[in-house]
């Protein structure tokens, strides 16, 4: 922050103007509660963006998408800037402009890259650059606006206080508390989401039901058609849209709580200004107000959707990373498809767009509210149960594979049905993991790993050799897959992932191609390699956080311990199986002895003994299975999970490395600048200055990245440890129950046998 306020030469004159406008506007807004006019004011700069957007949006979005480095980068800036805005807004509004300019830098860079890549499109260059800058500026402005609105929201609720009921109070409380959090923590995007969710909510007083249909008719199709042309890499976002859309459509009709409507009513007078703005397009200036409205609303929409998604789908666990992750999606959305959307709507029917959006946003808010209230109670409850059943061999020979029935049982509103079943093959499970770890791994989430691909087990299965070991293999694999999926859906953030939903719900899943080459074992190997590489890096990394240092050691030693435990349990299982076998053969020989015995009573007793031993054999067998599934497999799970935990440490390390590298580069650039200054080369000096600004932003960005990843990892590890204890307790209870049961069975057997033994005479 400090660096950005020190030196902020905006790279492009356009945005400078924009900034000026922004700050001016924000200042004006701050002073004035009724923001109808300011909305107009801010709207003046949007047409530009719109115009330019039309020329470039598709390629622009593709570019942003295809460049993974730039993508998160821009996300970050995006996520941060509003918080900066918010922080500073309370003290000094002028900084807002600078904050916005910091936000621009990455975009400037992004467009530079874009330019490089598409160098042939020289004529379009300037325009595109402008677009990005505009976009950022708009973004900043919008966020600023959102912040502003939040401030409004506060005052509004304060105004409402005499008349309003508890829900609204809660809303403002929640908002203010969550909004106050970020300055201390690294979880910045949350307030943004909240704020954005709030701002349109203010203007939701208009016909909600009609809006819902509108939303579905217009936006729904837009949403779908919008992102479609873009590359396949964009698929997750697309499906996010799809879901949000379904939910928005499905729920406001039924599930929109009374709270929402009552709140709408209460907010009516206050939002009159906004509503008026929304109404204006039909009156005079169709382009401007419509634009501003849809601009704000649309850019807020994805956020709000995400808020809704996050809040309502986390089983009430309203964690800040949720929105963090979705912040990514949010930015992508607001950068491409919503813009397309907005373009359309601005020209076609701005009024309906704005109303529909705001209507759809009212609901999320109330949903979030409810969820927040229930947050605590729901934390431990699991509303979703996944079972994996009926492994079935499909195909013949070496092309054969195993398919499993994946049944989900849930009361979560995010799913259309309460129960549903799909068929998935093993590689689908691996594919899901890869998608998840690719998306969430870098953020420091512990993505539960699936069981490894087993060459031996599969080959046996393919050859069609059906023996006890292959049955055992299938059962182990089935159980492991079930636990893996359950762990995934138990994770509040992973449950939100569209891929997870798709995996559970969608009838046909596109074939996971990459996993074929990359077996589970291979993946683990890769993971281990990465771990090794990073542990070498550890030497270089001067760990400032003792917590992480300790935890890493703990994780490593826990890994060793669990491996040892696993070996011991496996040994125990082997002995149990052996006992079952030897008991069976003793039973057989007892039966033989019985049949050879002359004394009828003794002969009878021996035959009885054989029967008892046969039953006991079954008990031993069950016990072996119990040992296997209660402990051996549980411990194996945790060995895998510990690998994932280490993976998050590596991700953190990588983030650190990136930050350090950026610092080094920045240092070099500064040195260069000093040299140029000394050599008196003003032409190059400007370039160097620009670069410094750019790298300064990056350093700030990466530092925040690192802090964010650190915080996530920390949370995840704590969650992991909690889960570990919980898991073990649950398993042990189950184990003891079955142990007790088998012991009682044994007592019954002996009690039945005793009179037989006594009857010998």
């Amino acid at each position: 922050m400090a660096t950005s306020s020190e030196r902020s030469p905006p790279p492009f004159p356009d945005s400078e103007d924009q900034d000026a406008l922004d700050s001016e506007e924000v200042r004006a807004r701050d002073s004035d509660e009724d923001d109808g006019e300011e909305l107009f004011l801010s709207a003046t700069n949007t047409p530009m963006a719109k115009k330019e957007n039309t020329s470039a949006p598709a390629s622009h979005s593709v570019d942003l998408m295809s460049d993974p480095l730039i993508e998160p980068l821009s996300n970050q800036t995006e996520n941060k800037s509003p918080s900066e805005l918010f922080e500073d807004l309370t003290n000094d509004i002028n900084i807002t402009a600078e904050g916005a300019s910091t936000a621009e830098n990455p975009f400037g860079e992004a467009s530079d890259d874009f330019v490089d890549i598409l160098g042939s499109k020289a004529p379009a260059q300037r325009e595109e650059v402008d677009v990005t800058v505009e976009a950022t500026a708009d973004k900043g402005e919008v966020s600023g606006g959102a912040t502003e609105l939040f401030g409004d929201g506060k005052t509004r609720s304060a105004v409402q206080e005499p008349t309003s009921t508890a829900p609204v109070m809660d809303l403002s409380d929640n908002l203010s508390t969550s909004a106050l959090l970020p300055p201390g923590s690294a979880n910045i995007p949350d307030p943004l989401v909240d704020l954005l969710g709030d701002s349109p909510a203010a203007s939701d007083a208009q016909k909600p039901s009609g809006a819902v249909t509108d939303l579905f008719d217009d936006e729904g199709s837009d949403i779908f058609t919008g992102p479609l042309p873009s590359k396949s890499g964009k698929q997750p976002q697309k499906s996010l849209f799809g879901e949000a859309n379904e939910d928005l459509f499905g729920e406001p009709l039924g599930a929109v709580s009374k709270k929402a409507t009552s709140k709408e009513q209460k907010e009516k007078p206050v939002t009159a200004g906004a509503a008026a703005a929304g109404g204006l397009p039909s009156g005079g200036n169709p382009a401007e107000p419509g634009d501003i409205f849809s601009e704000e609303a649309v850019s807020a929409l994805p956020n709000a959707r995400n808020t809704r998604a996050v809040n309502s789908r986390t089983n009430g666990v309203h964690s800040e990373e949720d929105s963090d992750i979705f912040g990514e999606a949010t930015v992508e959305l607001s950068l491409d498809s919503p813009r397309n959307e907005r373009r359309k709507e601005a020209t076609t029917k701005p009024a309906s767009a704005s109303t529909s959006v705001s209507a759809s946003l009212a609901k999320p808010q109330s949903a979030a509210l409810e969820e927040l209230e229930e947050e605590e109670e729901l934390e431990d409850k699991v509303d979703i149960f996944v079972s994996v059943k009926d492994p079935e061999k499909i195909g013949d020979g070496m092309n054969a594979y195993m398919a499993y029935k994946v049944s989900t049982q849930t009361t979560l509103p995010m799913f259309r049905n309460k129960t549903f079943t799909v068929r998935r093959r093993f590689s689908d499970f691996l594919g899901l993991y890869e998608k998840l770890s690719e998306k969430h791994g870098p953020n420091g989430l512990i993505v539960p790993p699936p069981p490894e691909k087993s060459l031996l087990g599969m080959t046996k299965m393919k050859v069609g050799k059906e023996d006890s070991s292959s049955a055992d293999f299938l059962e182990r694999r089935r159980g492991a897959l079930e636990r893996y999926l359950q762990r995934v859906v138990n994770h509040p953030m992973l449950l939100q992932d569209p891929d997870v939903r798709e995996f559970l719900e969608k009838e046909e899943l596109p074939r996971a191609v990459s996993t074929q080459a990359l077996s589970g074992a291979g993946f683990l190997k890769m993971l281990n390699k990465a771990t090794d590489a990073v542990s070498k890096m550890t030497i270089k990394m001067n760990e400032s956080d003792v917590w992480f240092e300790e935890k890493l050691q703990e994780v490593e030693s826990a890994d060793q311990q669990f491996r040892k435990l696993h070996a011991l349990v496996e040994l125990l299982v082997i002995h149990r199986k052996e006992l079952s076998l030897s008991t069976a053969s003793f039973a057989k020989s007892a039966a033989m002895l019985g049949s050879a015995e002359d004394n009828t009573a003794l002969s009878r007793a021996l035959s009885q003994l054989a029967e008892v031993e046969d039953k006991i054999e079954q008990l031993h067998q069950d016990q072996a299975a119990n040992d296997t599934f209660s402990f051996a497999e549980l411990i194996a799970d945790f060995i895998r999970l510990l690998g994932a935990v280490r993976g998050t440490f590596d991700q953190r390390m990588k983030a650190w490395q990136r930050w350090q590298d950026a610092q080094t580069i920045l240092q070099k650039k500064r040195e260069m600048e000093a040299k140029l200054l000394w050599a008196n080369k003003p032409d190059k000096l400007q370039l160097a200055k620009d670069e410094i600004t750019e790298w300064e932003a990056k350093v700030t960005q990466y530092e925040r990245d690192f802090e964010r990843v650190s915080a996530t990892v920390r949370k995840e590890v704590v969650r992991f440890e909690k889960e570990k204890t919980k898991n073990f307790k649950r398993q042990i209870i189950g184990y003891l129950e079955s142990l007790l049961q088998s012991q009682q069975q044994l007592i019954k057997y002996w009690e039945a046998f005793l009179p037989e033994a006594k009857a010998i005479a």
Binding site: L593, K729, L740, W750, L754, A757, A761
Partner: protein, 370 residues
């Protein structure tokens, strides 16, 4: 005449047969020394003697070699366990079977049973060597013994053709066939049961290891999550200790009751087989004598007739004793197996109940924790 001998002989033993105990085993290098305690018939005193396996062998050889007992070869001699070995090879361990388990306690038990059986045997208890064995402070059998006619090795060689010999007496023929079948099955059952016990012991050990390993996971620290997990580990370790205890006592029950019972049964059946074999040998001898007597030239005819008659008399005696012995054995076998089965069942029941109690307590503890 024979009755008088028996009466006379009862007074030979100066201890109560059923009080004989092998209380202890002392190991000195490769030598095992057993302490044998028995109660005096007169008063309350006890005899304490220390004996090695050689002393037992000495006793057995003397029992085999009694000369003035008619029909001795019809006796089913109580079986002496095979020689114990410290650090025995796998082969010897297999021979020892149940007797090789534990710290020789089953072996002591088997020796004790041997002595009691000898002392309870109507014919054998009259032998003075038993009295000497039980009461003399000097170890009797430390000099090398010469092998007598009952040497097992020679039996094994001859056995092959004689076992198939058609018997004149239907009773013995049936018994011989039956014994053959039963010996095989009993030995197999004992071996299989031994496998069960050995596996149970392995499980107990594995549980012990797991319980111990769980303690490694215990971490000290203030972190409540760590504490909670450590507590889980400690409790789970206790659970597996219970399982270990349970399994250990199951194995001990198996060993001490049915295991020893099957082992003894199997050895007794072997002894019966030996007896039947000796009788068959005698039968063959008699048949040969008869043939010789028939074919003999008049000069030798008388002598041959004498031999034949002696053999006939001897065989008759053997058959008489053998019949009694077989009936006796069959009865005792059933009683013994019944006793073992009942004991076994009762002990297993007890163990299972204790186990159930322990598991239930653990379960409650965990439920309380969760």
């Amino acid at each position: 005449m024979m009755q008088e001998e028996v009466n006379e002989a009862t007074s030979v033993l100066s201890v109560y047969g059923h009080t004989i105990k092998v209380t202890e085993v002392l190991q000195d290098g490769d030598t095992l020394t057993f302490i044998i305690v028995s109660q005096k018939l007169s008063g309350t005193g006890e005899y304490h003697v220390d004996r090695t396996y050689e002393d037992f062998e000495w006793l057995q050889q003397h029992l085999y070699a009694q000369e003035d007992v008619p029909g001795l070869q019809g006796v089913i001699f109580p079986p002496l366990p095979v020689r114990p070995q410290v650090n025995a090879s796998a082969k010897v361990m297999k021979q020892l079977g149940f007797l090789g388990l534990g710290e020789w306690q089953p072996y002591c038990k088997a020796l004790e049973t041997f002595l009691r059986q000898v002392a309870a045997h109507s014919i054998l208890k009259k032998n003075k060597t038993l009295e000497v064995f039980l009461t003399s402070t000097d170890p009797p059998g430390r000099q090398k013994l010469r092998r007598n006619i009952f040497n097992r090795l020679s039996q094994a060689v001859e056995g092959l053709w004689k076992e198939g010999h058609k018997d004149v007496d239907e009773f013995f023929h049936t018994e011989r066939d039956h014994n053959l079948v039963l010996t095989g099955h009993t030995r197999t059952a004992a071996e299989k049961f031994l496998d069960v016990v050995l596996t149970e012991q392995k499980i107990a050990v594995a549980c012990g290891h797991f319980a111990a390993a769980l303690h490694i996971c215990v971490e000290n620290g203030e972190d409540p999550e760590k504490k909670a997990f450590s507590r889980v580990c400690v409790k789970l370790s206790e659970v597996f200790d219970s399982i270990k205890k349970n399994m250990t006592s199951i194995a001990v029950n198996d060993m001490n009751t049915l295991g020893l019972g099957l082992d003894l049964d199997s050895r007794y059946l072997e002894a019966e087989k030996e007896m039947l074999f000796r009788r068959t040998c005698k039968l063959v001898e008699l048949e040969n004598a008869r043939k010789n007597a028939e074919r003999a030239k008049p000069v030798k005819k008388n002598a041959m007739e004498e031999v034949k008659k002696a053999a006939e008399g001897e065989f008759e005696q053997i058959c008489k004793v053998a019949k009694q012995e077989i009936v006796q054995l069959n009865q005792e076998r059933v009683e013994m197996l019944q006793k073992n089965l009942i004991q076994w069942c009762e002990q297993q029941l007890q163990t299972a109940k204790e186990g159930a109690d322990a598991y239930n307590q653990h379960l409650q503890a965990f439920i309380a924790m969760a």
